[in-house]
Symmetry: C2
Subunit: 211 residues, 2 copies
């Protein structure tokens, strides 16, 4: 079982793969213990490296955090972008909610780091993320505003209603276990139902079916 390094048997792991492995491990550690409570030595140990060796793959702890947070932001934005704006507002909102919960369910670690630690990014990187966040919120706000005009929803302020909706979705990382008894689909169904209720959905559009 002795395994001495030799150029012949050195596995062809590219720098890119290694970097990815580091970011994934960081996602696990940061989501469990928090950004500041995880040291670079903890991270190195998780990928079987010495502390200093990390820096041939990444340039700083801040960069690793940014990578994780960016991956989460990308997934949420891609999910929202897939929702057709041709749908009636209530169905559009239902699709946004379901998309969000789907991302949450299979990327809960990145999402957790996103919500928990994005404020600790360096100022420049934090403002990039703040921009994406606003972009994402706009999908919800505009859908609510559209429904407000067609009469599908009855809300006083689309901006406040969007924050309200996203509050329930963003909080999920705090308590939800995708592997637990409540399936992502069942969660999506019940949340969609309650959220459409909060928006005063009238069910007057072409298809009033909810859940």
């Amino acid at each position: 079982m002795s395994r001495l390094p030799s150029s012949a048997e050195t596995p062809a792991i590219s720098t890119v793969d290694r970097r990815d492995e580091i970011v994934e491990a960081a996602g696990r550690l940061f989501s469990e213990s928090g950004y500041h409570t995880t040291s670079m030595r903890d991270l190195a140990r998780a990928v079987n490296l010495q502390g200093g060796s990390l820096y041939s793959h990444i340039s700083s702890k801040d960069e690793v955090l940014f990578e994780i947070v960016t991956r989460a932001a990308d997934e949420f934005l891609e999910s929202a972008a897939l929702v057709s704006t041709n749908l009636p507002p209530d169905q559009r909102m239902a699709a946004l909610i379901q998309g969000h919960l789907r991302v949450m369910a299979h990327e809960i670690r990145h999402a957790t780091v996103f919500f928990q630690d994005w404020r600790y990014l360096s100022p420049e990187r934090r403002s990039i993320i703040a921009g994406r966040r606003d972009e994402y919120e706009a999908y919800f706000r505009e859908t609510i505003a559209a429904g407000s005009e067609t009469g599908a929803f009855r809300v006083e302020s689309p901006a406040l209603a969007a924050i309200f909706v996203l509050s329930t979705l963003n909080w999920i990382y705090q308590w939800y276990d995708p592997a637990g008894a409540l399936s992502p689909d069942e969660l999506a169904r019940q949340y969609t139902r309650m959220l459409l209720g909060a928006l005063g959905a009238t069910g007057d559009s072409q298809s009033g079916g909810v859940g």
Copy 2:
């Protein structure tokens, strides 16, 4: 303007007051920058002390965090305890929501530290807070369950609905500025309306008036 210490003019600041001053300053600093990003030297500077001098008033950083978080928990629990269980469920829920938002509005710093940093408490202290948290959640869950039985609410799972309601309330520290354009009362009115909608409030109880 020279001011030499003399027992005659030493202000009668008791140890208790000093301790309180430290905890209040910590509430400000932790809520702005986070627990781990605030050093004990930062805290000392904020109350015009040298670093080591803090420890004649408090015993550890963890203890200071616990104090802040406990104060927040106490206020939320006291607020919920004031709501009469004789009220019909929808009015009871409205009162719980308004109470929560009132505490949030005038104790937003403690509340922020509570939600943001309670997970960094030492294990023993963290479990005490977890207990209070569950206690508070029970007020909401039981009110929803009661409304579910009387037909005032239409929900599938009171437990999930309680989490849903608290999500919107707990998230508020992330975006709300009590001194901004949206007054606490107006926020409470709109949130109560949306939340009762989410719970499928029928307005069938004695007084259906909502906002």
